[in-house]
Amino acid sequence: MKTSKNRRLIMISLFALLLVGLMLLGVRLSPALANEFYPDHSDLVETNEPHLINDMATQIAEQPDAERESEDQESAINASTLDAAALLKSMVQDFENNTFSQSGWLHYVYYLESDIPNGVTLPQNYYCDGWFLINKTGNVTQHVISYYDNARNLNQREIYKDNTFINLTTNDKMETEGPYKLKLDFGVTRYMLEMQMEGSILNHEVSTVDEKPMTQFSVIGNYDKPTVFGNTSQPVESVRVTTLFDQATGAISEIAYVYLLVDGTEELFYKVQTSTLEWDELPQEFVKLLEDGE
């Protein structure tokens, strides 16, 4: 009786082990097996992708007496653009560290303007008025974001709670894995640095806007083929991305993204200007919204 029970137990254990082994093998092999059934089609679309021209290499090649002095010029240009990249990285890092040095409700408002239709119900120019609950690790656990048109009419409102984005206007929901990091630069720094790594030239200079001293970073990315991006009126040859830091506060005050079109004209894809970035008490109406909002 006991032997029979033990045998059954051993059989069940062996079967469970076999099952787990097969599942692990399946998971390990699945992409390869899937590829057998669904061959990769990346080659069909990769050829359409625009690539950045390595302007750094071009600039070095076009210098007079390039052959004689190329090494010096190359190192000078590299050093200049690498300095700008390092400075940009450190200024964004400092800005984020200073901003997220405390926890509580952060009120962050910016205005976005654009020359190009966005194809959605948001107006082309709008105010994005956000309240973000920052925890001790610098991540957002709750938020209320309101989008207003130029006349300050509410267009859409979104809340974030229980790891879910909920658009209260459209009832659209998106789930996340956990609290997220608020990107005060909208991720634009990464794009600028990627462009610089591909050979686009990143510059920085000190300028003045409304009598305020600013540190300005700009990069121009030239594409190897004219490409239609989104709803642009015509193909884009190049893009110019600019970020302005307020020297007094170290905060990003403006980010602009401009298309340089094939006919030689420019189109503003967006310009974002920060108007408020401060710690404050969440307005009572939003407290209620987070409690009740579904």
């Binding site: 079967f15 099952l19 097969l22 599942m23 399946g26 998971v27 092999l29 699945s30 992409p31 097996l33 899937a34 059934f37 669904y38 990769d40 089609h41 990346s42 679309v45 359409n48 992708e49 625009p50 690539h51 976005l112 966005n118 194809g119 959605v120 119900t121 948001l122 938020h143 979104e158 974030y160 984005f165 909920i166 658009n167 459209t170 659209d172 929901k173 996340t176 997220y180 608020l182 990107k183 005060l184 909208f186 991720g187 634009v188 990464r190 794009y191 990627e194 462009m195 790594m197 591909e198 990315g221 490409t227 239609v228 991006f229 989104g230 709803n231 893009v239 980010i255 993204y257 967006y270």
Partner: protein, 153 residues
Amino acid sequence: MKKGIRKVSLLSILLITIAAITVTTVFASLGTWSYHAFAMNISGTSDGISGKMVNDPVGAYWAANILTYVDNPPISLSLGWNWFSGTEKCGATAIQNVQGDPYYAYTQQRAATIFLTAQPCGTTRYGLSSGKHIVTAGGTNYYDTWTQTEVIP
């Protein structure tokens, strides 16, 4: 004897299930195609397959891709998509939408791409590739409408 047969049957069912999951599940992620087989055994044994991909090449743009093809074996049929769009969401709010051109022609496979420059977004950015695929065989239209969503870093 009966017990043995039962065990073998159970084992076979489990193995078939595991094999099926293994083969049909395609672990789609940013930069990889996700596929649906939506028209089975058309014009003989061929299948109409739809594909979508969201990828994030170097720079400030991302791409929504669409694909319709016929395989097992590959043959030419009238295929394409009735509509195709790329949408960008910041959290649960749509901040950009771009419509691609429809396509319908006699061919074995066809793909298209919409390039979108990322709009400012401080929270989580999602890229969506949406579209309604079509394959025609024996006078019947087969459709497949779905959306592939990925987080754009």
